[in-house]
């Protein structure tokens, strides 16, 4: 047992930090500090900086543009990215569809899509959930019928994050309605400019326009956009949801938020002194930090095990708790950050409006505190709700 970072890892961390300091545009960092509210242009701008450095898709195989870093370096890179804070390359491309394409796609698909994902030339969104298929994802109904060299797709997807920017959507569609529900599903790549696609925004409780409904009506998809084999899509979806063990806990995000809480609690006053001097407040923050430290160690255990075994085998059972604890901690930090603002959590400034009526006492940093708390309720719902995660652990880890 040796829980220290190696000299090489420490040097690498410094290199990553220095690169972010030099290259991340100040306006993007500023937007990231209090809310992860960056626009499409910001994402594209930053991803291209990373891609030029060769760091947009570090976890991919080297032949597709990956860096060849082991799990520990990948983790250090991600943690620094999150702590800085800098935007993470768009997950739907680099973490979701990209790995599915390079693992199960054909050579044409790899050549066509992977470089454009790495450079964010194509913005991808995820077409999994449907109005009737949330936690019970395999019950999805969107239908794809083969007609000569096309699939004709009809159905509706929902909760589709940032579909308003998307050039492409990867969809789970039902190709064999007679088969058992997991076995008649295929994985299709669909051009968002295809006739028959309509995107309607869903406004979330924080006032944000992050998610959408996507309607597909007689959308013609060329058969070459099928990934892998027909009716094997569920396997690819499980791979997609299961292959992320270095980031699901989002340790760096929570560390950044803890630092921000400490910083702003020194500015906000309570009982005539800075809030950070209030013993009860400090205990609440310390309590979150303890949980976060434990989770960081758990995360490092999982990564060290991955590094030792190679990233392909059965994951350490501890990996199953990363999503549950990671989401709980993210939610606790966003709540405490909102508490820091006291009454200034209340004023609401809609997106697009850029300042309060002058003169104003409302601190700029208070603007996103409550919305961020509201928005972060999602993290225990998406990607398999925490209750679903517990069902999975009960079955797969505890054997119940």
């Amino acid at each position: 047992m040796d829980l220290r970072y190696t000299d090489e890892e420490i040097a690498f961390r410094e290199e990553v930090r220095a690169f972010f300091r030099d290259k991340l545009p100040a306006d993007i960092r500023e937007k990231m500090v209090d809310a992860e509210h960056v626009g499409k242009d910001d994402f594209v701008r930053w991803t291209r900086v990373l891609n030029e450095k060769g760091w947009a898709v570090p976890h991919w195989p080297v032949e597709h543009g990956g860096t060849g870093w082991g799990p520990m370096k990948q983790y250090i890179y991600l943690e620094e990215l999150q702590k800085f804070p800098a935007p993470q390359p768009l997950a739907f491309g680099v973490n979701m569809v990209g790995p599915v394409i390079y693992t199960f796609g054909n050579d044409d698909q790899k050549d066509r899509f992977l470089p454009r994902i790495a450079n964010l030339d194509d913005w991808w969104c995820q077409g999994f959930s449907e109005p009737g298929s949330g936690s019970d994802l395999a019950s999805l109904k969107t239908r794809a019928v083969r007609e000569a060299d096309h699939y004709i797709v009809n159905g509706q997807k929902t909760w589709t994050t940032l579909a308003q920017y998307a050039d492409w959507i990867f969809c789970l569609v039902r190709t064999d309605p007679a088969a058992k529900k997991q076995q008649g599903i295929s994985f299709l790549l669909i051009d968002m400019t295809s006739p028959g696609i309509e995107v309607r925004p869903i406004v979330t409780i924080d006032g944000g326009r992050e998610i959408n409904e996507v309607f597909l009506t007689d959308v013609r998809v060329p058969v070459e956009n099928l990934v892998g084999e027909e009716n094997k899509g569920w396997d690819y979806a499980k791979f997609l949801l299961g292959n992320e063990r270095t980031n699901i806990a989002r340790i760096g995000v929570s560390k950044q938020r803890v630092a921000r809480i400490r910083e702003l609690a020194a500015k906000e006053m309570s009982s005539g002194r800075p809030l950070i001097e209030d013993e009860r407040f400090r205990e609440k923050l310390a309590s979150i930090e303890i949980d976060l430290k434990a989770l960081e160690m758990t995360q490092l255990r999982v990564i060290a095990a991955d590094a030792k075994r190679g990233d392909t085998g059965r994951p350490d059972p501890a990996s199953s708790i990363l999503k549950i604890k990671g989401s709980e901690i993210q939610q606790a930090t966003t709540h405490l950050l909102m508490e820091v603002m006291g009454p200034y959590a209340a004023p609401y400034l809609p997106e697009g409006d850029d300042r309060w009526n002058e003169p104003s006492n409302v601190p700029d940093y208070a603007r996103f505190a409550a919305p961020s708390y509201f928005n972060n309720r999602k993290v225990s719902i998406y990607g398999g709700s925490n209750e679903i995660q517990k069902n999975i652990i009960a079955k797969a880890v505890l054997g119940l």
Binding site: D2, Y5, A259, A286, M297, L300, K390
Partner: protein, 385 residues
């Protein structure tokens, strides 16, 4: 980073687990528990033969040269069977004063005796109004020529009933809560003026209330600086906390395993109770708490030899707080899922729950350590960390 045990460490763990599997079945433990001493001298000899007593001491002192990781391994295994022997009191706590504060002569005199199982120690520190504050010492040590004369009363001294020697804190100077002026003395438990009242604790271990009435001890029994022993006490207690966390992981993992096994065999309404989602989620909550406790114990173990006392203390505050709350969740759910049988003395799970509960009140409970950590500025005060 490497979280795995080395080959030697794995061999140690396997050998100890084999011994305990053989000697420490639940029935056998009950028999030991009800004996007069409350622990087994025969098993104590097995520990010594295996080298457990010598384990954390330097080879030149007659030890084996193990470190915090070896102690973690031993304590976790002892926790898993709820071992009753005074290992923690003697080797971790008492031995800690020798390792971190003992002179060459002191180590040469006492380490070999510990290693062969001939010497039992206890740490006599807690006082009536001290609660969890290590600096609160009212017992006095008056210099008298080449000796000190100790007077005062010590409470809940773990294994103080059977110890051959007591590590006693006493004031050579200063008021009851001052950082300076505390000395640490090695006192013959049978010396004139020492009176002990032994008793069982809630978890079946043994402890004592100890009165020191003008006990004369030679000056060479002092560990380190008689005017400034508190840093030594804090260091030893920090290492003891790391070891207690490891014991707690053993206790929690045993409770969790017992509970999950029970869920598979206990039937109600014609099906195993493990098929009920409400209970499954409780069992998963226990699993999460266990893994988080394990992670935090590794962190505490790594920090046990940290020389920056403030850094080390923050790590121990965090670990002990996490263990306290996770242990309580695990213990309460273990009893709840077992239902009525979990309430009985006849069944193991309640004994684990009790030990877990008593671990929380040893060397500062969860609330105490959370408060201390908050006062120290938290864990991630350095935003670069």
């Amino acid at each position: 980073m490497d979280f795995d045990l080395s080959e030697e460490q794995s061999i140690l763990k396997d050998a100890l687990d084999r011994l305990l599997a053989d000697k420490y079945g639940f029935e056998e433990r009950n028999r030991i528990l009800k004996s007069d001493a409350g622990w087994s001298a025969a098993i104590w000899r097995h520990y010594a033969e295996m080298g457990l007593m010598a384990l954390p001491f330097a080879e030149e002192d007659g030890g084996i040269g193990g470190g915090a990781v070896e102690s973690m391994i031993v304590m976790e295994s002892l926790g898993r069977v709820l071992a009753l022997e005074p290992y923690f009191a003697t080797v971790i706590l008492g031995g800690g004063f020798l390792r971190l504060g003992g002179s060459t002569e002191q180590r040469a005199e006492w380490v070999p005796q510990i290693a062969e199982g001939a010497l039992k120690l206890a740490f006599a520190h807690t006082e009536r109004d001290a609660r969890f504050d290590l600096n609160h010492v009212e017992t006095t040590a008056r210099k008298d020529g080449g000796s000190y004369v100790l007077s005062g009363a010590k409470s809940v001294v773990l294994h103080g009933d059977c110890a051959d020697r007591l590590v006693v804190t006493a004031r050579t100077a200063g008021g009851p809560r001052e950082e300076g002026g505390v000395g640490v003395f090695l006192v013959d438990a049978n010396a004139d003026g020492v009176s002990r009242r032994g008793y069982a604790t809630q978890d079946g271990l043994r402890a004592a209330e100890i009165t020191l009435d003008a006990v004369e001890v030679p000056a060479e029994t002092v560990f380190g600086d008689p005017e400034n022993g508190l840093p030594l006490v804090r260091h030893v207690v920090d290492q003891a906390i790391a070891a207690l966390c490891a014991e707690a992981v053993g206790v929690m993992s045993a409770m969790h395993a017992l509970t999950v096994d029970y869920m598979k065999v206990r039937k109600q309404f014609g099906v195993p109770i493990g098929s009920f989602q409400a209970l499954q989620h409780k069992a998963v909550d226990m699993f999460v708490a266990l893994e988080q406790a394990r992670s935090m114990t590794m962190f505490a173990t790594m920090m046990a030899d940290e020389t920056d006392a403030a850094e080390r203390a923050r790590a121990m505050h965090a670990a002990k707080a996490e263990i306290g709350r996770g242990g309580r969740l695990t213990g309460e759910n273990a009893v709840q899922i077992h239902g009525g049988v979990g309430m009985t003395m006849e069944y193991a799970v309640g004994h684990y729950f009790k030990r877990m509960t008593m671990i929380d009140v040893a060397f500062g409970n969860s609330d105490h350590h959370l408060r201390q950590l908050a006062r120290a500025g938290g864990l991630f005060a350095d935003t670069a960390a």
